[in-house]
Symmetry: C2
Subunit: 223 residues, 2 copies
DNA sequence: TAGATTGTTAATCGATTAACAATC
DNA sequence: TAGATTGTTAATCGATTAACAATC
């Protein structure tokens, strides 16, 4: 198999993400594609078709091509996609070609699992700090090298730290106040594990992960 | 305000969940409605309109009514919904009017957070057992009363236990094997935290929660 | 009765899939 | 060249929203 980059055809848009409106579902699928490509690279597989890439994730081949078409032309007609090439492009599109800087608010049960969770670091995220009302107890719970400091120090710590994403795992009663402080600090993305709808300005992206909700909606199928 | 149950108009379908095909998104919203109703009950609010219920969650009022219409007629035209009445109906529809029985596979970082997570128990789930390859280490990690036993004992333990949902938090390399064993045991619902597409029969419901994916798709917005 | 809000049908919107000319 | 697969347009499907008669 010939090894050649489709460098000419590539035009990985450096567009601001907000410019056009890319559906969130597309972004999630791009992440999935990227993961499959990573696995293929590890198996030294150099090319893949949209049909095969889709099949591995349960998607239609047209969907794969359409998703990619939002951002440019990455394939070679009659041939398919160069795995490495496409992966590089996707990482760039997703902003994963640099380290994404993360802090964690609330180092309780869930928080300490998240901060110790190897998966994040492995995937190119840098967990910079954990914040907790009771940092001593939090340090006991979470076996981690990540510094855990008092929530009262949030502003002075974050000021100089250039944080990309804040992960919110505080008690429900504190979630909105925490969100307000994060917004005031200029943080533009929040991954919220607290089952509370946050009130934030439109330029702040909040993603909700609601574990009890997932379990609850599953229980519908086992009645 | 008059207190009267719309008992006559109620016809909370006892339909098998699979009979008609209710979109998963509808089921998730029902859970959210149920939660809002719970909060309203605690505030002693007795009635609510579809408009107000939707507003609190960011949904259109027509969507609220349409979602409910999948299952019956629960409101009073010109009036709205009795909070308690609707909540009872939703709990029945979701299968949450009885205790939902859950086991956890893999008591590592994430697993031990999940097993200690008060939210589940509070919401009417019973966490019956944790299973881990190394139950001694797992018990140290997870500060919980839930019995943690060896994964080798899965079959003999579950046989007599009537499990509704299995939560999967094992290493990726073991996820498919674990899923096969759960399927063989007749378990019909899996909440999967492992970033691996599971191969299961069509009557088994698998819900994926992929924490790294959530963080990754958020990072798109902060490039 | 007048006012309000439901349940439901019709209209709209958006996302997925099919089809196919372009092209490697 | 013949075969394969892309990128993209058109068709389909499904979900959301608007509208309104029914009715409390």
């Amino acid at each position: 198999m010939q090894r050649r980059m489709s460098t000419e055809s590539r035009q990985a848009s450096g567009e601001s993400p907000e410019a056009r409106n890319i559906p969130q579902a597309v972004i999630k699928r791009l992440s999935l594609y990227s993961r499959v490509l990573q696995a293929l690279e590890m198996q030294n597989i150099e090319k893949i078709s949209s049909a095969e890439l889709g099949r591995q994730l349960g998607f239609n081949s047209a969907q794969v091509r359409k998703d990619l078409a939002f951002f440019g032309q990455f394939g070679v007609p009659g041939f398919g996609y160069y795995v490495e090439d496409l992966r590089i492009n996707l990482r760039h599109i997703l902003g994963k070609d640099r380290t994404v800087r993360v802090i964690l608010l609330g180092v309780g049960n869930l928080g300490s699992a998240l901060i110790s969770y190897g998966g994040f670091t492995k995937q190119g995220f840098a967990m910079l700090r954990g914040f907790d009302i009771d940092p001593d107890r939090a340090r006991e719970r979470a076996h981690t090298d990540v510094p855990i400091v008092s929530t009262t120090q949030l502003e002075q710590e974050v000021g100089s730290m250039d944080v990309d994403i804040a992960v919110l795992a505080v008690p429900a009663s504190q979630a909105q106040e925490m969100a307000d402080r994060l917004v005031a600090l200029g943080i533009k993305a929040i991954l919220n594990f607290v089952p509370v709808r946050l009130n934030t300005p439109p330029d702040v992206h909040v993603r909700y992960v609601d574990l009890a909700l997932e379990l609850e909606s599953l229980s519908y199928y086992v009645r």
